[in-house]
Amino acid sequence: MINYIIRRILILPIVLIGISVLIFAMLSTLTPIERATLYISSPPRTATAMQQIIHTYGLDKPIYVQYWNWVKEVLHGNLGWSKTAQMPVMDAIKLYFPATLELSIWSFVPIMVIGIWLGIQAALHQNGIIDQAARLFSIIGYSFPTFVFGLLVLMLFYVDLQWFPPGRLSDWANNIVYSSAFHQYTGMVTFDAILNGRFDIFLDALRHLVLPALTLAYVDWALILRVMRSSMLEALNQDYITTARAKGLSEHMVINNHARPNAMIPVATIGGLLLVGLLNGVVITETVFNYRGMGLFTANAALSLDAISTLGVTLLIAALYVVANLVVDVLYAFLDPRIRLN
């Protein structure tokens, strides 16, 4: 097992190098002027400004020289300065990743718990009321464009009812979080608020998380629900379930100890990918609710041709995918003793 894990982790540097080379290769198709426009927002007032900027940022050097300069910095732990985020790339990731992680956790747990539970119930009462409702619910959720649903809930719950606002924190809470009285341990406001003993800020942050989490959940419940339902149905039709029942086990034992663990495998795969997808940042939800996370950051960086930010973020995402896939594979071994890792 340990060998397996180590071997899988050793792939990581290779993946990172491959991705960075790929990105630089794509960058080399852009002219220095196009890359310089990251630093200029309108036509330069002076004829020399363009050339000066190209020179300052080394955009006219050969691509392999630029790559090597970047690699040297990265090996020293410096991912460079993000023009999009207006701070070092490392700081931007430390700021936006916890925000996305927080939103992901608060969305993922409801998605998985409710999705799995509903899926099991739907499978157990196949074609019953719950099954019908769940399937209808999931079709609607999956076909709804995120921004439409997001704007609808924003209008209903924010404009009309004024229950849940957009953004991450109210202004008064924001002032406290950024003051010296508040220590940011994790960068995730909900957890930091508890650690700082500020229950009022915890509630305020939670209030701001409801709408984006609901938007994400509503769309993704469908997926988990359907996968859980179909794999549960398949598991329930297996011979070992008949045997278990024949042995006289309670229905509760049959479902929870025999059917569900086997049905979970596809759900684990999808769940893992879903979590990583959430961690990548969900740009549309973040845009609608003005929730600053990895999605907005990455999208803006790519749109403005901010190579340095894009590289830093891509490395992070690549690392996340490698680790997530590894975790899922290891999880398989725990869920299903038939699977051996070697």
Partner: protein, 668 residues
């Protein structure tokens, strides 16, 4: 399916659909605050009230009295872009300008809503020598920076030295370099250090310190210009001319004022600049923090120096509202939602969304703050309309397209064969005139701007010297368009005229800017009406691509805008007409004409007699018209949407922003 299940599915689905419909309709309703709408409001439309005080509005205004003021001690502004730097010497975008302008101050300041009258701010008075080359400013006493340090003439001189020596690439310092080092100077390093001082940075730095001198005893700062400079006072109101505290900048790691180590402070990247995210000014608001891409927080300066208003009815003493938050909310739906709930006091509304916001407008106001009520029930906002923005959008012709490296796709086949144009297509004045006659300004202004724009007659916009509302200009005339094409002297390889062969060309605009796209489409349709062989294709390019092509002179016809840096015709003459202008530099005008233009521009900027200046710029405007150098399109008007409880707004086009807010003059 058994009957109950089917029935249930139907019930559930109809409930879901019903709830969706309710939310969609309910979304347009007003917030939960219930208000009584007196029916008199509808009848008072005919009697505009507020001629005395700006924005007081009629007392029968619907809902304004009943709506609770949200966040009474904070002004919250919803903008769409984030500052790029908080260093006044470095920043050149309006988002940064808006913050800098409320925290730092300049020597002189526009008088309320005027853009040509100035009031003394950090300078109490000034004198200009008869030859126009020496300006002496008396510096105000008793002013302190936000950190408590007093303002001295040395701080003033240092602020200008620091900026000019910094001169970051793509920044605003070229504006200050010109009066002191020559009208062709665009860069400190290239045009001053290299060309004038043989590469000796220290010597160039010393020249800067001689150009602007200070006398702490006498309390004065003297500026020694290289030549008389018409725009001198206007440029001193720009954010780049803000005054910083020398000891404080040094504390932050900045230049110590000695020329021996000035060079390492030249042209820093944004993040290498010590004042990138720190502020210490003399203004009515102090800097609290900047959360990049999220918001900027300011708080009242309780020790603000201003005791007497600078103009009648102007603010004085500490600011009326304690805090200011400028939020960056790029998505309109979210910004609008916050405007509806009152969580934003003012917000930027993109032109295409105006029809969504207008039903919530209770009062319509003009640029000076005179308001008339609408008859929208339950409305909570007011809108300031018809704010003439100091910008224009125009269509440019490149008379000789750069074909090094191959024929650009925009030229099609590159020949006059019906499938393209030759690189010198627009060098024929008849072609340029024809394109002008084929543009329908009225339709464009109605369709794209809802009538809130005016036709641009030339490089000088309305309100600028050189503009005359009665000057000759092109009007939409399909017949004249056809005649001009027929008068063209261009010939194809086999001797045919343009009219017979037809042409194909790509009209470039930057993707996302639908206003410019529509301009291209109008041109396209009219050209095809005149002659079906005239094919104009409207092509959007991402801004980086358009910029790089335009700088290289590879775009035959493109549309782009210009926003005024400082209020003086020179800021328009240079980019549109000069041989080294941002646009004209790659347009390849006829050399004789170009020489004449350059001479006039030089005369205009150094002329001190106002009447003579007027004549020079009027002549330039006319030359642009007679030679149909460009297709001048529009000067737009902008709007500001605010909550009814915001008081004190007036529009000054010089304030950075769209529009710019001088939070000191506002209250809730």
């Amino acid at each position: 399916m058994s009957f109950p299940s089917k029935h249930l599915t139907l019930t559930i689905s109809s409930m879901v659909i019903l709830s969706m419909v309710l939310v969609a309709c309910g979304g347009a309703a007003t917030p939960a605050v219930s208000t009584s709408v007196p029916t008199e409001a509808a009848t008072s439309v005919g009697q505009p009230t507020a001629t005395e005080a700006p924005t007081s509005g009629p007392t029968t205004a619907p809902t304004s009295a009943a709506a609770q003021v949200k966040n009474p001690d904070t002004l919250i502004d919803g903008e769409i872009s984030d500052p790029q730097s908080l260093d006044p010497a470095w920043a050149y975008d309006t988002a940064s300008g808006l913050v800098i302008f409320n925290v730092y101050e300049t020597l002189i300041f526009p008088k309320k809503d005027s853009y040509s009258d100035y009031v003394p701010m950090l300078a109490t008075s000034w004198t200009i020598s008869p030859d126009g080359k020496t300006y002496t400013f008396n510096i105000r006493q008793g002013v302190t920076f936000h950190d408590g340090e007093p303002l001295t003439p040395q701080d003033v001189a240092y602020s200008f030295w620091r900026g000019m020596i910094q001169d970051r690439a793509g920044g605003p310092q070229w504006i200050l370099l010109q009066p002191f080092f020559g009208l062709n100077v665009q860069s400190f390093q290239d045009d001053v250090v290299t060309k004038q001082f043989g590469g000796n940075f220290v010597a160039a730095c010393e020249a800067v310190q001689k150009a602007i001198t200070f006398d702490n005893q006498a309390g004065t700062v003297t500026m020694n210009l290289k030549q008389p400079y018409g725009p001198m006072l206007p440029i001193l109101t720009g954010t780049w001319a803000s005054i910083v505290s020398m000891p404080w900048v040094i504390q932050q790691g900045g230049w110590d004022g000695k020329c021996s180590d000035a060079q390492k402070y030249h042209n820093p990247a944004a993040n290498q600049d010590e004042l990138f995210n720190k502020m210490n000014g003399t203004g009515p608001y102090k800097f609290v923090r900047w959360q990049p891409n999220t918001e900027v927080d300011l708080t009242r300066n309780d020790n603000y120096w201003l005791k007497q208003p600078l103009w009648d009815g102007g603010p004085s003493g500490p600011a009326a509202v304690k805090n200011v938050i400028i939020k960056t909310i790029p998505e309109f739906g979210t910004r609008f939602a916050s405007l509806k709930t009152g969580d934003l006091d003012m917000a930027y509304v993109d032109t295409q969304y105006i029809s969504q916001v207008d039903p919530l407008v209770a009062q319509t106001c003009d640029a000076s703050g005179n308001c008339t009520p609408t008859n929208n029930a339950g409305a909570t906002l007011k809108v300031y309309k018809g704010l003439v923005s100091p910008e224009s959008a125009d269509i440019f012709f490149t008379q000789k397209v750069n074909t090094t490296g191959g024929i650009p796709a925009e030229l099609g086949s590159g020949k006059l064969d019906g499938n393209g144009i030759p690189p010198d297509f627009f060098s024929d004045i008849n072609i340029r005139k024809a394109f002008n006659y084929c543009f329908d300004w009225n339709t464009y202004i109605q369709q794209v701007y809802n009538g809130e724009a005016q036709q641009a007659y030339g490089p000088f916009i309305s309100g600028e010297i050189g503009y005359d509302p009665n000057q000759p200009h092109y009007t939409f005339d399909l017949q004249k368009c056809a005649d001009s094409f027929k008068a063209s002297t261009l010939k194809s390889a086999d001797g045919k005229s343009v009219w017979d062969t037809g042409f194909y060309v790509q009209f470039i605009y930057n993707t996302g800017n639908d206003q410019r796209k529509v301009a291209g489409e109008i041109l396209q349709q009219n050209l095809a009406k005149v002659n079906p062989k005239f094919k104009l294709e409207v092509v959007g390019e991402p801004f980086p691509l358009e910029l790089s092509d335009q700088t290289a002179g590879r775009l035959p016809i493109y549309m782009i805008g210009w926003l005024e840096d400082y209020h003086d015709p020179n800021d328009w003459a240079t980019p549109f007409l000069a041989s080294n202008g941002t646009y004209s530099g790659t347009q390849a005008f006829d050399p004789t004409l170009q020489k004449q233009l350059d001479q006039l521009i030089l005369q205009g900027v150094t002329e001190t007699d106002q009447a003579k200046r007027q004549a020079i710029y009027a002549q330039l405007q006319n030359l642009a018209y007679e030679n149909a150098l460009d297709l001048f399109v529009v000067q737009p008007q902008i709007r500001s949407y605010q909550q009814l409880w915001v008081k004190g707004f007036y529009f000054n086009p010089l304030y950075p922003g769209a529009p710019g807010y001088y939070f000191y003059s506002l209250s809730k």
